[in-house]
Amino acid sequence: MMLCKLSLENIKKSIKDYAIYFFTLILGVAIFYVFNALDSQTVMMDVSSSTQDIIELMMTMLSGVSVFVSFILGFLIIYASRFLIKRRNKEFGIYLTLGMSKRKISLILFFETLLIGIISLLVGLGLGVLLSQAMSLVVANMFEANLTKFAFVFSSSAFIKTIIYFSVMYLLVMIFNTYSLSKCKLIDLLNGAKKTEKIKLKNPYLCMLIFIISCFVLGRAYYIVTHDFLTLQEVTDILKPIIMGAVSTFFIFWSLSGLILRIAMGIKKFYYKGLNSFTLRQFSSKINTTVFSSTIICLMLFITICLLSSCLTIKNSMNANIKELAPVDAMFTVNINMDKYYDEYRNYGYNDFQIKNSHYTVKEKFELFDLDILSYFKDYIEVNTYATPDLTLNHTLGSRLDSIRTQFPFLAYDTMETIMKISDYNKVAKFYGIPEYSLNHDEYLIVADFKSMVNIRNVALSNGEEISLFGHTLKPKYDTCQDGFLEMSSQHINTGIILVSDDIIDEEYLVQNCLIGNYKTTDRKEITKIENHINQLDKSSKANEYLLPSGSTKLAIQEATIGLSAMVTFIGLYLGIIFLISSAAILGLKELSESSDNKERFKTLRKIGTDEKMLDKALFRQIAIFFLLPLILALIHSIFGILFAVKVLEVFGNEQLLPSIITTAIIIVIIYGGYFLITYYCSKNIIKNERDL
């Protein structure tokens, strides 16, 4: 069929020019498949059931993200194809003058899209299947699991899903193409190529004014997210600086496009040197039309940078934290004297029996379940914590309460403080291998590691706020919180434990008994068996009568952490890479599609005797400016974005920030830089084709 042949020829003809488009489509399909097929990789891994649960959760999240990703890719494909069609207006005009009906031209386009779709899907899926083999290693590494066997994995569900999602996208593109073609007029199609490009120089004073205003607004947005951080109490509050940032980004590009040229023109020595005037004009003639896309690309890059670096920080920090924050095998706690706070515990959902039968230690509780918990342990310690309604955060903050309350209106000020005997805490500290402390009879100290809370408490401590406890008045030993914790976890979440001299404590106010120990066995499988057995107890009939001690074990924390960090990493990578290739592809495509105009211009330059080296340099600079400008602004945005993220993610710690930023930079340099180089070499090729003039 002739139409098919035309389509095929068209694709062949343009495949070189739009290599970057095909490349991106293929990459998009491959990435889509790889991330949706992640679960198939875990099949050959030796993982526990709780890890399996996390993987399932991760897959659910990833498929949610996939919907979002498909929107982004859909947008990219429609944008790109609209772009490619515009370039071919004249060709369609010729078809129409030859008497071809619009329906037939639509058919040509239809075949083209179909062919492109099929080719990119097939190649992309092939690449995806290959990549996902390599991904097995990454997944295994992430879950710290051993590969039991290496097998070729293929996920048919991901395969089908990819085909369906991309088919829908291509179908939408076809409908869109047909629609936009049916709206065209022949005269416009034929004259499209001839349109004289009007170059308007923007009013420099207006540009300057808008530039300054935008910088100011942007600065304000930066300030809000970094310094006025604490005023952002609700999720919607963060929208304000985001909108401010986005709008000012647009206007900065708008005004810069006018300003850069104006300023450069002012510096005659620079402007009339070599091809500088040409390069700058190239840049400004295009940026007038690309302000909007530059803005989008800048924001996408910004999101990518923040996303990647904070996800990697979370992952790295969590893994590093585990060693420090879960130093022993297991810790079991029971609530004691629950009947004292009957109403509150009822509200939490405990039943009357559980509340009434709450006068046993951890060891005694387990004995009620016919379990000799101590038999599992090589060594162990037992400690208690206390609390009283007479010592809440309200009291600890003392005279500083009011000023802190206006700053942080949403803190739970009525929560009872956790109190521990200094000797008990030192037992724990010794067992954990963290610093021990000593206290005089009339002193107290606070151990905490949750940064925001530490800061709040330090305000009161540095003021020397005294507290009264069980009829004693205590003054702070230190003017800051000391580092330490009782509860094992994967993050720094200890909001504060008050340590006091042993003789002050009134045993009446005992609220918790903790048993902390190391197992006799170090075998992971054995430990899993023990812990599964303990967890099973919760299902026994006794659990309704007696509350089972709650445990936090190193293994459980590890698994949860690994799962969570894997989830965060994969989602971050998935979105980050898609964002990155989309924005780089748009830039590259824009640059290449203009190469036909550039071809003429470079031809002229060559005719008047410009050196090849000079031409290459001009081309390189021209493309570099286009790739760099959004990146530079995105980098500036990211500095503040990351500062903000660091505060939000404080609990994870930010010691791992630098390596994450370096990793992010490497990813961006490889992908974005790769696209830049491909664009440069493709344009150079297009321009070189005319060398023989």
Partner: protein, 254 residues
């Protein structure tokens, strides 16, 4: 007089062995400093090929072209670019101005790629703009100018580097008769200032502004006539006579 251009027995073949086209067939002539020479011929006579060879845009199959004593057929790569940049000035039928640059910047580019400083560029452009009467359009973009203005800007770009030789390929081809006349008067004026101009055309009126016309047919020199003491009108009539003699489609140009 000094010899600016010497074309020595050049040949240019196109195509493969089986279907060989001789675009230029053993052609020789010379141009002296300060001359204004027109090359006339019908389409396909080889005149544009000749100009491309002289302009080092195309390579000859055999023979030599000497510009200012240098054999340009031996130049390669960037030497060619340097030669084009420093020794030649080009005026094209379709102007070949850069659409993104103003007239001033278009002219300046010819100098800036030679590494000439901005202050000298400014002086030179001022002078040439006066000579070619384009002072008013210096800050306009090509799309804001008439064809005649564009071609005068292109001419300014061609002569601003003080080239040994200005090559004009159908400079009036895209202009109406009034603009053509104005452009040719300017070229005549530039010639008076000492520029050496070699112009290719198929239009007798355009050719009549030159001081010598070389007629080419089938890649060979058919005839050569000098203006001598003739008025432009008399020279035009002489050209027409040769054109009639030449016959063929060159008549269409009348």
């Amino acid at each position: 007089m000094e010899n600016i251009l010497k074309v020595d027995k050049i040949e240019k073949y196109y195509g493969s062995r089986s279907s060989l086209t001789k675009a230029i067939d053993n052609l020789s002539f010379e141009v002296e400093k300060g001359e204004f020479v027109a090359i006339m011929g019908a389409s396909g006579s080889g005149k544009t090929t000749l100009l491309n060879c002289i302009g080092a845009i195309d390579k000859v199959t055999s023979g030599h072209i000497f510009v200012g004593g240098f054999d340009i057929t031996k130049l390669k790569g960037n030497e060619l670019n340097r030669f084009r940049r420093e020794e030649l000035g080009f005026i094209f039928q379709d102007f070949n101005l850069l659409d993104t640059l103003t007239a001033y910047e278009n002219i300046a580019l010819a100098l800036s790629i030679q590494g000439i400083s901005a202050s000298i560029i400014e002086q030179k452009i001022k002078k040439v703009a006066e000579e070619l009467d384009i002072k008013d359009v210096l800050n306009k973009y090509p799309y804001q100018m008439s064809g005649g203005q564009k071609q005068r800007v292109a001419s300014a770009r061609a002569i601003i580097t003080d080239p040994k030789l200005v090559l004009a390929d159908e400079p009036t081809g895209a202009l109406d008769s009034k603009s053509s006349k104005m452009l040719l008067e300017k070229l005549e004026f530039l010639d008076g200032l000492g520029a050496t101009i070699l112009m290719v055309t198929h239009d007798a009126f355009t050719a009549s502004y030159a001081r010598r016309v070389i007629f080419i047919k089938d890649g060979k020199i058919f005839k050569e006539i000098h203006k001598g003491k003739d008025t432009r009108k008399e020279f035009f009539d002489k050209i027409i006579d040769v054109v009639t003699l030449l016959g063929g489609d060159l008549n269409d140009a009348l």
